[in-house]
């Protein structure tokens, strides 16, 4: 609030110029303590005059005034002169102080006004700074735009220069071509002039003429005809006939082509209708909104069109043509949409299908395989094809090698047997083992036969022994008949066993 302080200062200043009496009568803003006049009743009363005097003298002494009392025999009497002098001194002091105050106030005013000015200028400068910053930004932006412009213009200039260069090249080549032609014409002209001169100066003029032994007949054997108006018209008619023939031929070819193309278009259209209409049945079972296109009405209208078109298929007029092409376009669009749907469905089916499409998936499961599966299948097949091709290639190479290498007889003989070699080796080995086994068996047989012979001998010996033993027994037979019988039994058993034992080794042979 510089204004209010300024007013205050003003007030103060005003109040300082007011006469003292008024000053003291009014109680203005209590700014300065020694301006404030409280009233003398409060300080000194009848009772405390001596204290007041003492107090005042103390104060005066403190301020450096001489004492206002003079000391008379211990009684402090008020020295009026020094009191007045002190009062005068005080008044002077007061005036000085007031003067100083006024000065200070002036100083303060000046300083505050300076401050105010500074603040104003500061704010003005800040505003200016803002403005200049904005200006700067604007100028920067403009500079940037201008730079971009110059770049674009440079580019244009470059292009134009290139264009100019190209055109200059063209002009140069044309100029050289013109010069070349001009020179050629000049040369020819020169030659012509020379020839003309030569002809003018040349006395004998070599006539042109033909010297032929005899005239030959025309190549087609006919006689030449007189030139009359009839021949002219005949030529004209011949020419037009040739042209017409050509046109006819052309038209016939175009008609054939046209008919073929129309047939093809019809076929395409029918096939498209065929493809699209069975979808309609499968589409009805699903809750898909997409195949809404295949409605009864549409199919009916297509069939109608077809029927109506059958009548006009032979017409080659504008209307029929347009009809056909429009219907084809329509069908094609439908087919495209259908294919797009299938594509989307194919992708979706591969990812986790949402519930609404599960039903759909079941419906057209067998017709659709997802894209990824299809691609994998393709990759696999391609790999297989590549492998087969490599295999065939290597086989061919080997075959060629075999057929192409030249052989001599030995190696040929060796080589022709090469496939049987392995088998031969195997057979040889088998023969070897066979022979070994045979040998082994022979040996065994021999040993067995020897053993059998030995056994036979031993048996004979045994039998003889037995016979002698029995004889002995029989001869020594007394009371022990039963015992002999027993022993005989046991002996017979033993003999049987022996026989068995003897006969058994024969069997392995």
């Amino acid at each position: 609030m510089p204004e209010s302080s300024f007013e205050d200062i003003n007030n103060i200043y005003v109040s300082s110029t007011m006469p003292p009496s008024r000053q003291y009568s009014q109680s203005t803003i209590p700014l300065l303590p020694f301006r404030h006049y409280i009233g003398n009743t409060e300080f000194c009363t009848e009772n405390n005059t001596s204290e007041c005097m003492l107090y005042i003298s103390q104060e005066l002494l403190a301020l450096g005034f001489p004492s206002i009392f003079f000391d008379l025999n211990g009684l402090r009497e008020l020295d009026v002169i020094s009191a007045l002098n002190s009062m005068y001194g005080l008044l002077q002091m007061h005036r000085r102080a007031v003067g100083m105050l006024a000065e200070l106030e002036v100083e303060q005013l000046r300083v505050s006004s300076d401050l105010h000015c500074q603040q104003l200028t500061n704010s003005k400068l800040k505003d200016q700074l803002e403005l200049s910053k904005k200006e700067n930004l604007r100028l920067c932006e403009r500079e940037r735009q201008l730079e971009a412009n110059t770049k674009a213009l440079h580019h244009c200039l470059k292009n134009e220069k290139e264009e100019v260069q190209k055109l200059q090249n063209v002009i140069a080549s044309r100029a050289s071509q013109y010069n070349h032609n001009l020179k050629r014409k000049e040369r020819e002209f020169g030659k012509l002039k020379e020839r003309l001169n030569q002809l003018l100066t040349d006395k004998k003029d070599k006539k042109q003429g033909m010297d032929v032994l005899n005239y030959v007949g025309r190549s087609d054997g006919k006689r030449s005809q007189w030139k009359t108006g009839k021949t002219d018209s005949r030529h004209e008619s011949d020419m037009y006939k040739a042209l017409l023939n050509e046109f006819d031929k052309h038209q016939r070819e175009l008609m054939i082509e046209n008919a073929e193309l129309k047939k093809v278009l019809q076929q395409i259209k029918q096939e498209m209708v065929g493809i699209l209409s069975p979808k309609r049945q499968s589409g009805e079972t699903q809750k898909e909104e997409k195949p809404k296109e295949f409605t009864d009405q549409q199919i009916a209208s297509d069939e109608e069109e077809e029927n109506s078109f059958k009548g006009t298929s032979e017409m080659s007029c504008e209307h029929a043509r347009e009809q056909l092409s429009n219907s084809i376009r329509q069908q094609w669009r439908k087919l495209k949409d259908h294919m797009a749907n299938l594509d989307n469905k194919g992708i979706l089916k591969h990812e986790s299908p949402p519930a609404s499409l599960v039903h759909l998936g079941q419906g057209i499961n067998e017709e659709m395989i997802s894209k990824e599966v299809h691609q994998e299948e393709m990759e696999r097949l391609k790999l297989e094809i590549q492998q087969c091709k490599d295999f065939i290639h290597t086989q061919q190479q080997l075959l060629q090698q075999q057929l192409s290498t030249p052989w001599d007889e030995e190696t040929a003989a060796v080589l022709t047997d090469c496939y049987m070699l392995e088998e031969k080796e195997r057979l040889k080995e088998e023969w070897k083992t066979f022979e070994e086994q045979k040998k082994n068996f022979e040996m065994e047989r021999r040993t067995f036969t020897e053993a059998a012979i030995r056994l036979g001998h031993e048996r004979k010996m045994f039998e003889e022994d037995r016979a002698t033993w029995l004889k002995h027994q029989f001869l020594n037979m007394t009371f022990t008949d039963q015992m002999n019988l027993k022993t005989q039994n046991t002996l017979s058993e033993y003999a049987v066993q022996e026989q068995k034992h003897i006969s058994s080794p024969k069997t392995p042979l």
């Binding site: 044309r174 070349h180 020839r195 033909m210 005899n214 030959v216 190549s219 030529h235 020419m239 040739a242």
Partner: protein, 447 residues
């Protein structure tokens, strides 16, 4: 492939008769007629001066020999060797001489293209045609021989005159909207006449037989334009080769561009097979008793197929010269309309073969030297080309083959042409000629 002996010829003058039975060669001032199969000399004629141009008549009964310096044309009869005919143009000079399609008239173009004189061998009539134009291809006969189109120029304007070859009656005469008419060509069916402007302006005009303008085609402005033109044998396509290294194909129904073939120096199209001739030392003499008994093999002797992408060598032309060596200078259709062979002058060592069914390149033949000449077999899609070295190169859809001409001392093949039956090729060297007989049963080449 069997090669005949080498015979002398001068001036690359060697022509097979239209019926395919005789071979006529000029050696200096002599005209030698041989039998094509046995190559025995059947007739020998002597002309008055060195022969500059020689041509068979359409019925193979007469041969004309033109001597431009002397202004003389001599006509010889095969049936009657003692028949003679001499046409003297006198002081007016002679610049070109040719037969008419009926084989009984001779058209002589005088010096400075002052006029065309039509001499008749049947009667005493002489016709004159004034103001023929001196241009790339100013005169063309239709395929059936009935009409002749002639480019004319008078009063700084171009005209085309259509004559009936029967009696040289002027059928049509019309002005063309060209700056400088460069050439005319009939379509093979004889009903459409193509006329094109000089290279300073790209303009192709198509006229009907009766003189109506059917269509105008201009691909671009200002840059150099048409360099070469070819009709397809069925008249279905018109191929225009231009200086911007592209061939544009027009179709005969709408006369609008069907496609354009670009000769890009980097080949990345996987359908195009690049056959690159590689110098192999020592040079092998090639094998033409084919040891391939199995079905068609790519026979790549001294050719290899480099992997794509392939860079075709480009020769930058001198920009300051007129008629710069850039652009499609040669186009030819194969006889079955299936293939188109082109040569770009700034890739002089390569011949491009395009498939007209797929409308894309099918082969690029890259040789070690600039290709001098190529020609299609008149019976089947087989292309023969030569580069001025001792080899003959053949391409067919089955593959590419090169044969060295087995002549001692080398035989630089400068030019070649096929016999009308397609069974043999006549190779022309600097002053020699040689016949190459294709044996039947070539698995790699017979299509």
């Amino acid at each position: 492939m069997n090669f005949s002996e080498v015979f002398k010829q001068s001036n690359q003058l060697c022509k097979v008769s239209p019926d395919g039975k005789y071979l006529a060669t000029c050696v200096q001032y002599r005209l030698v007629v041989r039998d094509v199969n046995t190559l025995q000399i059947l007739q020998l004629y002597t002309c008055l001066d060195q022969v500059a141009s020689m041509e068979w008549s359409s019925d193979s009964l007469f041969i004309l020999c033109a001597m431009y310096k002397r202004g003389l044309v001599q006509v010889w009869s095969l049936e009657q060797p003692d028949w003679h005919c001499k046409i003297d143009e006198g002081s007016i000079g002679l610049v070109s001489s040719r037969w008419s399609p009926d084989g009984r008239h001779i058209l002589n173009t005088t010096e400075f293209h002052l006029r065309v004189t039509v001499w008749s061998l049947c009667n005493k009539s002489v016709s004159y045609i004034k103001y023929p134009k001196a241009c790339q291809k100013g005169m063309d006969f239709s395929a059936d021989g009935r009409y002749m189109a002639l480019a004319e120029r008078r009063d700084c304007k171009d005209y085309i005159s259509v004559f009936v070859c029967d009696d040289w009656h002027l059928l049509r005469h019309f002005e063309t909207d060209t700056q400088d008419l460069a050439g005319v060509e009939w379509s093979p069916n004889g009903c459409v006449l193509a006329a094109w402007d000089s290279c300073l302006e790209y303009k192709m005009l198509l006229y009907s037989l009766d003189g109506r303008l059917l269509s105008t085609y201009s691909a671009y402005e200002w840059s150099l334009g048409i360099k070469s033109v070819a009709w397809s044998p069925s008249s279905q396509f018109l191929a225009i080769g231009s200086y911007d290294e592209k061939v544009r194909i027009l179709n005969h129904i709408t006369w609008k561009k069907l496609t354009e073939f670009e000769h890009h120096p980097t080949i990345t199209n996987s359908k195009a097979v690049v056959f690159k001739e590689v110098e192999k030392r020592p040079q092998m003499t090639l094998c033409f008793s084919f040891q391939f008994d199995s079905a068609s093999h790519r026979c790549l002797v001294s050719d290899e197929i480099p992997p794509l992408p392939v860079q075709v060598p480009v020769v930058k032309p001198d920009p300051d010269r007129a008629n710069p060596k850039i652009g499609i200078s040669a186009i030819a259709f194969s006889v079955d309309n299936r293939y188109l062979a082109t040569k770009n002058d700034c890739m002089p060592q390569s011949v491009w073969v395009w498939d007209m069914q797929r409308l894309g390149p099918t082969a690029v033949l890259e040789q070690t030297a600039p290709v001098r000449f190529f020609a299609w077999d008149p019976r089947r899609p087989r292309l023969a080309l030569c580069t001025g070295n001792t080899k003959l190169y053949l391409w067919s859809p089955a593959g590419c083959v090169s044969v060295k001409v087995p002549v001692e001392g080398g035989f630089q093949v400068q030019s070649l042409f096929w016999h009308c039956s397609g069974d043999s090729v006549v190779l022309l060297g600097k002053d020699q000629l040689c016949l190459c007989y294709m044996t039947k049963g070539h698995s790699a080449l017979v299509v």
